[in-house]
């Protein structure tokens, strides 16, 4: 090692410049990270592949400003220098730096870091008078030259830079390294990569414009770090996350506390940030620091219902009590993502600015401010949905600056809107890459997949000893759970088995498929399609426990006492199974009911053999039902378990109105299967928690806060019921009693409100949570996890690995690989929770999208289908919230319009707008006009007309208009398809979309061109909604994830209240 010194000029803590001398050690051996290395470098981790045409070394400026281009996976053979790496760290902040780090870590990107400044021959010290940028560029160039020589000229090396002088200076030196500009590089080497060219132009333009900016300040400057730190410590400033009110995006935003900053007891609520000035350039989701305003400037939140769009007039009279109000003084962390935007109409665009290159675009998300982008394709981008990224927001600019990334498609088209929903929820589901598919085992006609003999001998073979069967929704492809039950020899013991697809056998930890599954975290179900977490060869074939084929499984086997059904022992491990029957729920229920039905697997058999098989199956099903009933009863006896049952029914109630397909009473066999799965999950949770008390992945459901139940209690009281919310059991019992015999909807709505009051179940790592918080409130279990659906949930994959490690630990074998520590696991749990939330949001939004598309082409005044019955479930200052059971949608109904007119009801129930006043009470709202008064009570039935409120830049929304205060006489229209309700709706919309696209294609005289991947993975060909919703409902059976859908909806309502 050679020691030199580096002189730096830094700012001291007091703001003075200081001269700092740092040591700098250099060595001869620095790993180069290329597989072409001739000098036996000790490369660890990622190496550059040898089969690329060249290596590219980007200059500091390129990495700093054009990182997004380097992030494209098509660009290969990138050598990042330490010089560039550190400059990014110093100049662009943590977020940018972390992106660079994850780029380097990600094995899907072909790039490495070369520590050039520690390599003796590639480092050059800064010369006297040399500017820092020049020095950096020289260092990068030297590194490129060293790299070229180090590989003995086997690979051409290209250095790209934005520095014109450097190009002319270094190209002349003739060292074998080509020095060109980024643009030339892209044109020369990647002429077909349009995405890169577009990105380059848009970023370059933005950079250029940022340079010649300079105007008066619109916002106050953010505070320097020292002042801030002291302020946060002393409690003068408060740190939190900014969330913007969707309905009043320009005016209202709230900051929620992070941590226990509430030294001030009066400040335990959120803090209101009123107006754009006080928000000071913060965007929804940013971590901000705020300062409270003096008390006389505090404001209240707005109570009235407002429409999502249109001008927002401040309504002073409808404000509530003043609440803590503050202003943003600094933004600690930007949480910017990709935003979908729409360009304004062309005429507007021309009047908008003098130079037509800068355009203000409107994001799809209401909570995001307009973004200024520069583009020359404004005309081409009309009526398209476009992705942009934010770059900066200077204090001199009213709007943030961004740049254009890519086009999604024409707005209003189904495909575009679905993509929009995915992007807005940060869901990234590209088709599986070739490298990932190459990892997959092959199973084709010619080359069938076979079991490995080593695996066969190491696993417990249940193929001959156990009767294994699966019960799933009809037409299900990815069967991840099967069941077995048998009487052990001697007759004193029963053996219950739950066998789950062994995904972890195929998906090795750290493989590309594993990484992809980890980043997706779950299979995404949208209204008409799904995006799988695992490639189809696994999810629908090799992992799927199909009937009649040998499969690997992970099993939990309980030995139960045949009489008392007490658990005597439990066994966990890897097994081999062959599922004998692939039943569906209806079939299983019919068998149990003793009806004559055909089991497809038994068809080829004849006579007595068939009868014998049949009776075997029947007996197994009956035993299973008995066991499940017992398990359930046992848990009921354990106390506080009843709510879970309620939840199930409440969920199914939800389901009913989504599908209108699920029978009124859920089949018992649903519960039987669910009960077995809950049991398996519970036992696995116990096992892994005992084996790994500090790093096991569990799932908990925190008890809800009592104040969230207020709405439920008040509403029930209005109808004469009392609801006891002290414990989950009391709540369940009182909900059970709150039934109005005349109107079954009342109970349903009350249950809905109860679900809304609950928080969500979440994954967590046992090391980061005290033991008393492991409790699952909804299921009333002390420990719970997810184990039974590894094909569509990544959490289950982790749990499988933990369980295997626990089993190995028991046998005193050391686990093959070190397990994730608590910190990593907790991060992963957060990631999965976030992705689950995104999955639910996107599902909800896609359902809303389909609702809007359904009503879009109907004339709401003539079409019978646009008039429906609705129930009032909450009262607001200028209207009420109503639920339409027929279509399963909720919305606001206004009783007062913009001109101040109110609804008046005449003799036969017809409604009109007339001048008058409104009075709101806790359980009713009264309209009084010259013709008389009318009262709307909670749970009243009314008739509404549904129409679509079209929106250019945002998602369309549905508008409910009151037309009568009488219940809508429910004539079941014959035009409704037999399935009715939502599924018919989805199918119809899909058909329209397909027809429309077909027509468009025909006009262009071309055949529809669907790529293979699309056919394979998007699966929009047969939108089997039934299957999909069954799967969701099963998910709901096991936890409360679905209630979040309604929950979030309700939250938006309450925020506006």
């Amino acid at each position: 090692m050679i020691k030199t010194e580096k002189i730096l000029h830094l700012n001291s803590s007091k703001g003075r410049k200081v001269r700092v001398v740092r040591e700098h050690y250099m060595r001869e051996q620095v790993p180069c990270g290329s597989s072409l290395c001739q000098a036996d470098c000790q490369n660890v981790g990622k190496v550059l592949s040898r089969d690329v045409t060249h290596y590219v070394v980007p200059d500091v400026g390129v990495v700093r400003d054009f990182l997004e281009i380097l992030e494209l996976r098509e660009l290969q053979g990138i050598v990042l220098t330490q010089t560039a790496y550190q400059t990014v760290q110093h100049t662009r902040g943590r977020r940018h730096y972390n992106r660079l780090r994850s780029l380097l870590k990600d094995p899907r990107h072909d790039c490495v870091l070369f520590a050039n400044e520690f390599q003796q021959y590639s480092y050059c010290p800064r010369e006297k008078g040399e500017s820092q940028d020049k020095w950096h560029t020289r260092n990068v160039y030297n590194a490129a030259v060293w790299y070229y020589n180090h590989l003995a000229g086997l690979q051409p090396v290209v250095m790209i830079t934005e520095d014109r002088d450097a190009i002319s200076e270094f190209s002349a030196s003739n060292s074998g390294v080509f020095v060109i500009s980024t643009q030339e590089y892209l044109l020369g080497f990647w002429p077909d990569l349009q995405a890169a060219h577009d990105l380059y132009h848009s970023i370059a333009q933005t950079l250029q414009e940022r340079e010649n900016d300079g105007a008066e300040k619109v916002y106050t400057e953010h505070l320097p770090a020292e002042v801030l730190e002291a302020g946060i410590k002393s409690g003068r400033y408060i740190q939190g996350i900014l969330s913007v009110n969707k309905h009043r995006a320009q005016h209202e935003a709230f900051v929620r506390y992070e941590g226990s900053a509430s030294k001030n007891t009066e400040l335990n609520s959120d803090v209101l940030i009123n107006g754009a000035k006080h928000r000071n350039r913060a965007v929804h989701g940013d971590v901000v620091v705020i300062e409270l305003l003096p008390r006389n400037e505090w404001k209240g939140r707005t109570m009235a219902l407002t429409e999502g769009q249109g001008e927002e007039r401040p309504l002073e009279d409808t404000q509530s009590q003043p609440m803590p109000t503050g202003r943003v003084v600094e933004i600690l962390q930007r949480n910017w993502r990709d935003y979908v935007v729409t360009l304004p109409p062309f005429e507007e665009m021309q009047s908008q600015s003098r130079n037509s290159q800068k355009i203000l675009v409107v994001p799809w998300d209401y909570r995001i401010p307009k973004i200024r982008i520069s583009t020359q394709q404004a005309e081409a981008l009309q009526d398209q949905r476009v992705i942009v990224r934010l770059d900066s927001w200077e204090s001199t600019s009213v709007y943030p600056n961004g740049h254009f990334v890519r086009v999604l498609g024409k707005s209003g088209e189904l495909e575009t809107e679905i993509q929009t929903i995915l992007v807005e929820n940060c869901i990234h589901v590209p088709p599986f890459s070739e490298a990932q598919l190459r990892e997959m085992p092959v199973n084709t006609e010619e080359n069938p997949w076979q079991m490995d003999s080593n695996e066969v001998s190491s696993r417990r073979d249940l193929r001959d000893s156990h009767l294994v069967f699966s019960i799933d929704p009809k037409g299900c492809e990815d069967v991840d759970d099967t069941l077995s039950v048998r009487t052990l020899p001697g007759g004193k013991r029963l053996e219950l088995g739950v066998h789950i697809a062994d995904v972890t056998h195929f998906v090795r930890e750290g493989s590309l498929t594993d990484l992809e599954a980890r980043s997706r975290a779950t299979t995404y179900y949208l209204a008409d399609r799904r995006y799988d977490m695992l490639p189809a060869v696994l999810s629908a074939d090799l992992c799927s426990l199909l009937g009649g084929v040998d499969r690997y499984a992970m099993s939990v086997l309980w030995e139960l006492d045949a009489e008392t059904l007490e658990v005597c022992s439990v066994w966990f491990g890897r097994t081999l199974i062959r599922s004998s029957y692939q039943l569906h729920y209806e079939l299983a229920q019919s068998l149990l009911n003793g009806e004559e039905v055909e089991v497809p697997e038994l068809n080829p058999l004849k006579g007595s053999q068939r009868d014998q098989k049949m009776s075997e199956l029947l007996q197994a099903l009956e035993t299973l039902t008995r066991v499940a009933r017992h398990l359930r009863a046992q848990r009921d006896k354990g106390g506080a378990l009843e709510l879970e049952g309620v939840e199930v029914r409440a969920q199914l109630d939800e389901e009913k109105n989504i599908t209108a397909l699920v029978p009124k009473q859920p089949l018992e066999v649903h519960e039987t299967v669910a009960e077995c799965m809950i049991y398996a999950n519970h036992w696995v949770a116990r096992k892994i928690q005992e084996s790994f008390p500090h790093h096991a992945l569990l799932r908990h459901h925190p008890p809800p806060k009592q104040e969230f139940f207020n709405h439920l209690i008040d509403s029930a009281k209005a109808h004469g019921f009392s609801i006891d919310t002290r414990s989950n059991r009391a709540l369940a019992d009182s909900l059970e009693r709150a039934v109005d015999p005349r109107d079954p909807l009342v109970n349903r709505l009350l249950r809905m409100m109860a679900t809304q009051a609950m928080s969500n179940a979440l994954y967590f790592s046992t090391g980061s949570c005290p033991e008393e918080q492991y409790y699952h409130y909804g299921l009333a279990l002390a420990r719970y996890t997810h184990f039974t659906s590894p094909i569509r949930r990544y959490a289950d994959v982790i749990v499988h690995r933990l369980l295997m490690a626990a089993v190995q630990l028991e046998k005193d074998e050391s686990p093959s690989k070190a397990l994730a520590c608590n910190k990593e696991l907790e991060e992963l749990a957060q990631h999965i929770n976030n992705k689950n939330r995104a999955a639910q949001h996107s599902q909800k939004q896609s359902i809303e999208l389909f609702q809007c598309m359904y009503f879009r082409d109907k004339d709401s005044h003539t079409d019978e289908r646009c008039v429906a019955d609705a129930v009032i479930y909450a009262v607001r200052a200028n209207g009420f919230l109503a639920f339409v059971p027929q279509y399963g949608l909720k919305g606001a109904v206004y009783l007062k319009d913009r001109e101040g007119q109110v609804i008046s009801v005449d003799g036969d129930g017809k409604c009109e707008w007339k001048p008058g006043t409104l009075q709101k009470y806790s359980d009713k709202i009264i309209t009084s006009t010259s013709t008389g008064t009318h009262t709307f009570y909670l749970f009243n039935h009314v008739t509404v007309r549904i129409s679509v409120e079209p929106s250019r830049c945002h998602a369309d929304s549905l508008n409910l208009e009151l037309i009568s205060n009488k219940p809508h006489c429910a004539v079941q229209p014959e035009s409704q398809p037999a399935g009715g309700g939502r599924s018919g709706l989805v199918e119809e919309v899909v058909r329209w979309a397909e027809e429309a696209s077909l027509q468009a294609e025909e006009q262009r005289g071309r055949k529809p061109k669907l790529s293979k991947e699309e056919k394979q993975f998007r699966q929009s060909k047969t939108p089997n909604l039934y299957v999909l919703l069954q799967e969701i409902s099963e998910l709901a059976l096991m936890d409360l994830s679905i209630c979040q859908i309604t929950n979030s909806e309700e939250q938006t309502c309450t925020v506006s209240s």
Partner: protein
């Protein structure tokens, strides 16, 4: 600006060293003629000057004297120009007094004080340039000065600091690493016996990691002892060459 990354993913520290590598050490003995013993030591960019007087009669009040051994008096100070920003008070502040006390404890454990009852040994150490690891530089320099003064010791006293970043122990921290906010530990070792003369740590560290961290610090100390030994031997050769004539 993002916080400094003390240990990169490739395993390099800020100054290009690997986790276990030490800074470059250079030392000279007998730099002053007036004192009984003196030494100058550079440990990376940390430069320390140590001077030893004694053993001599107790100065000042006699009541301090011990009947069975010598007392050791240490004084630590930093030059005003030793840090990036000029220091106002070169000695006597809280930090220096603490450091003096630590040095005193260290050398009371190493010097055979019972050979000189009712007498006193003075050790003065001055940091000329501070770049992390001040304590260890002082101890190492003072050891050489004591050797130069001919005061019998049980063994060399070697000191080294070690830090803990991302589950990896780092040996011999520089200033940027010390101020980076991680855990730092200072250890003075008598390398041949493996006895610890002083161990000091202010920050929090999980109990499980203490052993690995101490192990790293002790290995580093043993490295230092080799360097110190070679310095002493070289000095001896030079001196004996001079006296032979």
């Amino acid at each position: 600006m993002a916080g400094l990354e003390l240990l990169s993913d490739q395993g390099y520290r800020l100054d290009g060293r690997k986790a276990t590598e030490l800074r470059k050490v250079q030392a000279r003995m007998s730099v002053f003629a007036q004192a009984d013993g003196s030494a100058y030591l550079e440990q990376g960019n940390t430069k320390a000057l140590a001077v030893v007087y004694g053993p001599h009669e107790i100065r000042g009040s006699r009541s301090k004297s011990l009947h069975d051994r010598a007392i050791i008096n240490c004084q630590y100070s930093m030059a005003t120009f030793s840090t990036a920003e000029r220091k106002r008070r070169p000695h006597g502040d809280r930090k220096s007094s603490e450091m003096s006390l630590h040095l005193k404890q260290t050398f009371e454990a190493a010097v055979l004080t019972e050979l000189y009852p009712r007498s006193q040994i003075d050790i003065y150490v001055k940091i000329l340039q501070a770049d992390g690891g001040n304590y260890s530089a002082c101890v190492n320099a003072a050891t050489l000065a004591l050797v130069d003064a001919g005061i019998p010791m049980r063994d060399y006293v070697c000191a080294c600091s070690a830090g803990f970043v991302e589950d990896t122990p780092l040996a011999d921290l520089c200033h940027a690493e010390e101020s980076g906010g991680g855990t730092a530990l200072a250890l003075a070792l008598l390398p041949r016996s493996g006895n610890i003369a002083l161990l000091q740590m202010d920050a929090r560290l999980h109990q499980d990691h203490l052993d690995t961290l101490m192990e790293a610090a002790m290995t580093a100390c043993k490295e230092f002892s080799k360097v110190l030994d070679s310095v002493v031997r070289q000095h001896l050769e030079e001196v004996s060459d001079l006296t032979r004539d």
